[in-house]
C-alpha cells in the first residue's frame, strides 16, 4: 500500500477523561484507503524529548469527510503534546503504515482490547460489520474511567467489559470474563491489542481452544516504515519488523 507524508488539519480534539482523547484529523484533499490494524507516525514537534515521530493506530476513518480518528492515551511528553493540539493546528503524518488484521474465515469473532490498544479494534469492527460479520468486543481497563469510547463500540456490536477493581463490568482481567471462561458464545477468531501481558494470556487461551488469534504489537519504533530495523519482534523466522511485517501477527508466529 502506498505511503504518504501529509499535513492533516486538526478539526476536533475531544477529551474523554484525564488521560484519553480522540483527535479528528482532516486530510488536505482526498484521503487514500487505509486498513484496520495500520498506524500513522505523528510528528509531534521538534522539542528535545519529542524528536522522533510517535506511532498511533488508526482508530477510525471516514472517507466521505476525509477524516481519520486517533485515540491517544497520554503517557509521556509526546502524547501529552498531542493532547494539547487545537482545532486548526497542523498534524504531519507518515501513513498508512504496517499490515492489517485479516478477515476471518469463520464468522464468530471476538475483539479483545485493553488500554489504548482498543484503538484499532473500532476500525476493525467496522470492517467486519461491512463484511457481514457481527463484531463482539471485550474491553478491559483498570477501573471504570478507563473504559472509554464504549458508545462507538456499542454502535457496531456487543460490548463486554472488565475492570480490575470491579467498578464496571466483570471484576478482573479480560481473561476472567464469562465469555472467555465459559467459551459461550463460541469463538473462532480473536483479534487483540493492548498491554503485552494481556495479549500473551489471550493468545495462550486461543491456542488452548483452537482459536485463531491475531495480535497487534506496540514495539518502540524509530521510523515506522522499515528503514531502521529497530522495532523487531522475535518470530519463527527470526527477527521481523513490527512496522512492516506487523504490527499484526498471528500469535502462533511469535516466539512468546
Amino acid at each position: 500500500m502506498k505511503k504518504y507524508v501529509d499535513d492533516f488539519k486538526v478539526i476536533k480534539n475531544e477529551r474523554l477523561n484525564h488521560e484519553y482523547l480522540v483527535l479528528t484529523l482532516k486530510h488536505p484533499d482526498k484521503m487514500p484507503e487505509m486498513m484496520p490494524g495500520q498506524f500513522v507516525e505523528v510528528r509531534v514537534d521538534n522539542g528535545p524529548n519529542t524528536f522522533l515521530r510517535r506511532p498511533i493506530s488508526i482508530h477510525d476513518v471516514d472517507y466521505e469527510n476525509n477524516t481519520m480518528l486517533l485515540l491517544v492515551q497520554e503517557i509521556g511528553e509526546g502524547t501529552r503534546l498531542m493532547g494539547k493540539l487545537k482545532e486548526g493546528d497542523n498534524c504531519n503524518l507518515v501513513y498508512p503504515l504496517g499490515n492489517w488484521f485479516a478477515l476471518p474465515d469463520k464468522p464468530r469473532v471476538l475483539l479483545v482490547g485493553g488500554g489504548c490498544g482498543i484503538a484499532p479494534l473500532l476500525f476493525m469492527g467496522r470492517r467486519l460489520k461491512a463484511n457481514g460479520i457481527e463484531p463482539r468486543f471485550l474491553l478491559g481497563a483498570r477501573s471504570s474511567d478507563g473504559l472509554i469510547a464504549l458508545d462507538a463500540f456499542k454502535e457496531l456490536g456487543e460490548v463486554y467489559t472488565t475492570t480490575e477493581d470491579g467498578s464496571a463490568g466483570t471484576k478482573g482481567y479480560v481473561i476472567h470474563h464469562p465469555v472467555v471462561k465459559t467459551h459461550t458464545p463460541e469463538i473462532d477468531w480473536i483479534y487483540t491489542c493492548g498491554p503485552e501481558a494481556m495479549m500473551k494470556v489471550v493468545a495462550k487461551y486461543a491456542g488452548n481452544h483452537d482459536i485463531r488469534c491475531q495480535v497487534s504489537l506496540e514495539n518502540h519504533m524509530a521510523c515506522g516504515f522499515g528503514a531502521c530495523l529497530c522495532c523487531v519482534a522475535e518470530t519463527l523466522d527470526g527477527h521481523k519488523c513490527t512496522c512492516t511485517d506487523g504490527p499484526v501477527f498471528d500469535s502462533t508466529y511469535l516466539k512468546w
Binding site: N49, L52, N219, C223, C228, L229, E234
Partner: protein, 286 residues
C-alpha cells in the same frame, strides 16, 4: 547521499520521492554471513537524538548479491554497499563478492560499528588495525573504496590519514558515538546491549569538528555526516571540508528530507553566488 542503516535499500522511500535526485544511497550494513542482529529493545530516544543497537542485522552478502542486487541495480543513483565484518577475512570475502557486482560503483568500509561484539569498531579505533583491514580489502576491491570512520577515538585525523595512506579513495564520518540510556523507573538499561550508537542533531557539533579536523590533513574527499537535519546543516559540513554529505536519522523524521536538502543546496548556491556546490567545500572563512 543517504547514510547506511537509515535508508534500507532505497525501496522503503520510493513512495515518498524520486530517489534518482540523490547522489547516492549507502545500503544497509552487509556482512559475509547472515546476522540476526541484537535483541529488542534496540532503540532509545534521547534528547535531540537516538541510540541504536541494531547490530548489523542482514541476510549476508550472498543473499544480497542473489536477491537484493537484481532489484536495486538499475536505480538511477549510485548504490554503494556498506561492508562490515568481525575479522579481516570476512571484510575481504564480502568485498570480493561486491566487487563482482557490476552496478555497484563502490563500497563503504564500516570499521566503526559500535554495535557488534567483535570487530566492527575495534578495527577503526587503532591505526594498525585500520591499516591492516583497509590494505587487505584494497587488494581485492578495485572500485571506489570509502572508509567510514568512528568518532570513538582520541585523534580522528590520525586514523583518517592512515586510511588515506592505506589506499582509501575517500573517507566518510562520523559513525555513531558510543552512548547509553538508563530507565530510572526500572533501574535497567534501555537497550538490550546496554550501550549503543548515538545519532541525530545531538552529535552534530562533534561530527562537524571531526570533519574539519580531518579536512586539515587529507587530500582525498571527505563525506560528512552526523545530525544533518536540513540544508543549513548540510552546508555547514561542506564549509567544514566535506565534498559530499550523508543524511541518516533525519530520514526517520521526514522521509523526504534528502530531496529537500538536494534542492536546498542548489538554492543556497544561487542565493550566495556560488557557481557550483563544490565551491562550498572547505570554504569556511576563519
Amino acid at each position: 547521499m543517504t547514510a547506511s542503516g537509515t535508508f534500507g535499500y532505497g525501496e522503503e522511500f520510493m513512495d515518498f520521492f524520486e530517489i534518482s535526485c540523490l547522489g547516492g544511497v549507502l545500503v544497509k550494513g552487509t556482512t559475509l554471513n547472515h546476522r540476526e542482529g541484537n535483541l529488542y529493545p534496540r532503540m532509545a530516544e534521547t534528547p535531540q537524538g537516538m541510540l541504536n543497537a541494531v547490530g548489523l542485522q542482514n541476510k549476508g552478502v550472498h543473499y544480497f548479491a542473489d536477491h537484493i542486487y537484481p532489484r536495486i541495480k538499475d536505480y538511477d543513483t549510485h548504490m554503494l554497499v556498506n561492508v562490515s565484518g568481525s575479522t579481516i577475512e570476512e571484510y575481504v570475502e564480502t568485498a570480493k563478492v561486491v566487487n563482482d557486482l557490476e552496478k555497484i560503483p563502490g563500497i563503504e568500509l564500516n570499521i566503526s560499528c559500535p554495535n557488534v561484539k567483535e570487530g566492527g569498531m575495534a578495527f577503526g579505533t587503532s591505526c594498525p588495525s585500520a591499516v591492516a583491514v583497509i590494505e587487505a580489502v584494497r587488494k581485492v576491491y578495485d572500485k571506489h573504496l570509502m572508509v567510514k570512520l568512528s568518532p570513538n577515538v582520541t585523534n580522528i585525523a590520525e586514523i583518517a590519514k592512515a586510511a588515506e595512506d592505506s589506499g582509501a579513495d575517500s573517507v566518510s564520518l562520523i559513525n555513531t558515538l558510543l552512548g547509553m540510556a538508563i530507565n530510572a523507573k526500572t533501574r535497567r538499561p534501555v537497550l538490550s546491549t546496554i550501550t549503543g550508537g548515538l545519532s541525530g542533531p545531538a552529535v552534530k557539533p562533534v561530527a562537524l569538528r571531526m570533519v574539519w579536523q580531518v579536512a586539515q590533513v587529507l587530500n582525498i574527499p571527505i563525506v560528512g555526516m552526523g545530525g544533518i537535519m536540513n540544508t543549513n546543516d548540510a552546508i555547514e559540513f561542506m564549509l567544514a571540508g566535506a565534498s559530499a554529505i550523508q543524511v541518516g536519522t533525519a530520514n526517520f523524521i521526514d522521509p523526504t528530507v534528502t530531496e529537500k536538502i538536494v534542492h536546498g543546496i542548489e538554492d543556497y548556491c544561487k542565493e550566495h553566488g556560488f557557481d557550483k556546490a563544490s565551491d562550498l567545500v572547505g570554504a569556511m572563512e576563519v
